[in-house]
Symmetry: none
Subunit: 204 residues, 4 copies
């Protein structure tokens, strides 16, 4: 027993140290990129912020782009998990949309920096981010199509509406993470209203 318990930690000590450094780099990258923008952020900025040498950066990520890819992949996975989880807890397309919106707002609020970096204006011109948007757009499209087939939703092209909803959500949330401290409830309300009911009191 003593042997496994003494060797395993040793094997893990390296692993854990490495993991800690890697996370430090990711966190530093989020902070610097949120501040200076993805493009203007140099590898040396990140290294400096993470308090490591430049070479160490390349020990953990092949290139600067690879870091960004990892960051996007990680963020997208976490956001998708939260949204999927939220949706599983309710039924009905409308409730699902509300739940998704709520999860999205919660996520953006709890992960300001990385949300700004990944979904904000500083990142959207990158391929990986557009691919991530497509992933969410595809989910939304399915929900919209379902709602239409149930007669609950107005007939618009689901693919287009999905893009519109993605655009509205990311813009609004990115804007908020960059500007005023808007209460979560207000964000959610705005998105839900526009998505579901539109601006008009009575159908226009």
């Amino acid at each position: 027993m003593s042997i496994p318990s003494s060797t395993e930690p040793t094997a893990n000590r390296f692993e854990r140290r490495k993991e800690r450094t890697r996370n430090g780099i990711l966190r530093a990258a989020e902070l610097v990129m949120a501040h200076k923008g993805v493009h203007a952020t140099k590898v040396s900025d990140i290294a400096h912020r993470a308090d490591i040498g430049v070479g160490t950066f390349y020990l953990h990520f092949e290139t600067k782009e690879a870091l960004f890819d990892a960051m996007v992949a990680d963020t997208v996975r976490r956001l998708k998990d939260e949204i999927d989880e939220a949706r599983r807890s309710v039924s009905g397309v409308i409730e699902q949309i509300r739940a998704s919106t709520a999860a999205l707002c919660r996520f953006a609020s709890a992960n300001r920096e990385v949300f700004r970096v990944v979904f904000g204006h500083s990142g959207t011109y990158l391929r990986v981010v557009r691919e991530a948007q497509e992933l969410f757009a595809a989910d939304i499209e399915v929900v919209l199509a379902e709602g239409m087939s149930q007669g609950l939703f107005t007939n618009v092209t689901p693919r287009l509406a999905a893009q519109a909803i993605i655009g509205m959500s990311t813009q609004l949330l990115a804007w908020c993470t960059e500007h005023a401290d808007v209460p979560l409830a207000e964000l959610e309300h705005t998105l839900n209203t526009l998505t579901l009911d539109g601006m008009c009191r009575a159908p226009a």
Copy 2:
């Protein structure tokens, strides 16, 4: 007398020629940037496409950024003119929103390349573009506030809703200019529906 009359046209000829070269550069920039992205476009790419020397570029624009600024400024002015014109021809906030949407869609469709560059994913990370979005957002905010004060619109924070509408519009239109050939009417319909009526058949 004969001298002024002969020099003025000469002066104009130069002016016109200079103007033509400048426009050639702008047009070349739009095409190359729409293709390669703002960031990946080199000054030499633009010069090559415009069929001029790199040095000539700098006779017409102080820096590469100045070109982009001019491009955005020009595009924004033209788009704003068209939207303002469209809005002047109708009355009532709802009709004004419809008219704006129509003008926006028409513009995006008629100026695909430059629209992609300025409002699409490849440019939004730049300051000037964000400022341009704010300009339009401000206009929308006014309309929304007006509509609310008239009791026509649901009560949401106008500033937030304006951002959401900007995001939805630019995303959808940029997406379309990069992807499928979607009929103008369908674009307009999608935007109007979401903005005014939301997805729900009956108020949710």
Copy 3:
């Protein structure tokens, strides 16, 4: 007539200037590499020696390796031309070998630096140089095979003997360019003796 004669020089002025710079870079590279070795030579060393900016280097050569390739290709071509020319002027395999040796020695003597760089110890570890050696080895192999079929030459495997002759020649000449001022005639004599008659007075 005046138009062609006035425009052509203009077109050529750029060409000539560019060509001059390119040659300056090649010459600087030969000198620096002969002094410091291929591998230890930095692009900035070459640029400094050629009295140009680093960027200018890349205007003329894609990479540092490309410069070396060009240098080898150029040197090999010139050497081959001289050897071929020399061989054309005589007949009989033995005379051809003598003529080749003479041409080789003359070339090495007239192009000390570049010979050292390309065939000397500092370059031979590079692929391009080995390929160049193979080119000359192939020529030698043909001559040897011919000499054997005519009963003039001892029977050894031509391919092996060709390699040996290449090795002897490059080593001896490279050594001489790096060391003593050995008279050309002595070099030639040594190579011819070893190649054709061997060290022994009487057949061993």
Copy 4:
């Protein structure tokens, strides 16, 4: 007394273990360098191949260059020992040359990798290797001078002929270790023929 007798073997065990690791590193270096070339071989490649940590490498060799120096020194010593041994067993300069050639070929054949690394194209640009070549060249020079003074050899400058013979031998053997499986006897024959008798049937 018991203490010395028990510590000595212990000390030896450590010594032996250290020696084994050191040899493992040398052997790994030979294999990797023969494959990737001296210059392209990283310390981490060697460590990986020797199945040790990078840090361990530096417990056995001061620097990467020190390893290479040791490798060359070791190889040169072993080769020199074998050649000297072979020469001691015969008398007469011609026989000594034959014996040396035979020993050289045997060595190259029995130590392919390290021969390629030290005498092949991948290493000759390094100072230590050139020095090693000079060592052998000096020996050859002596033999040649002796042969001439005995009237057995043609009169050529011994120093030059020695360089030529070194070049011919290393090139041919290195080429063979990199290419075809040429029988030892054929190698020896080619080298002896060229060195002693030259290509010509009858003196040219």
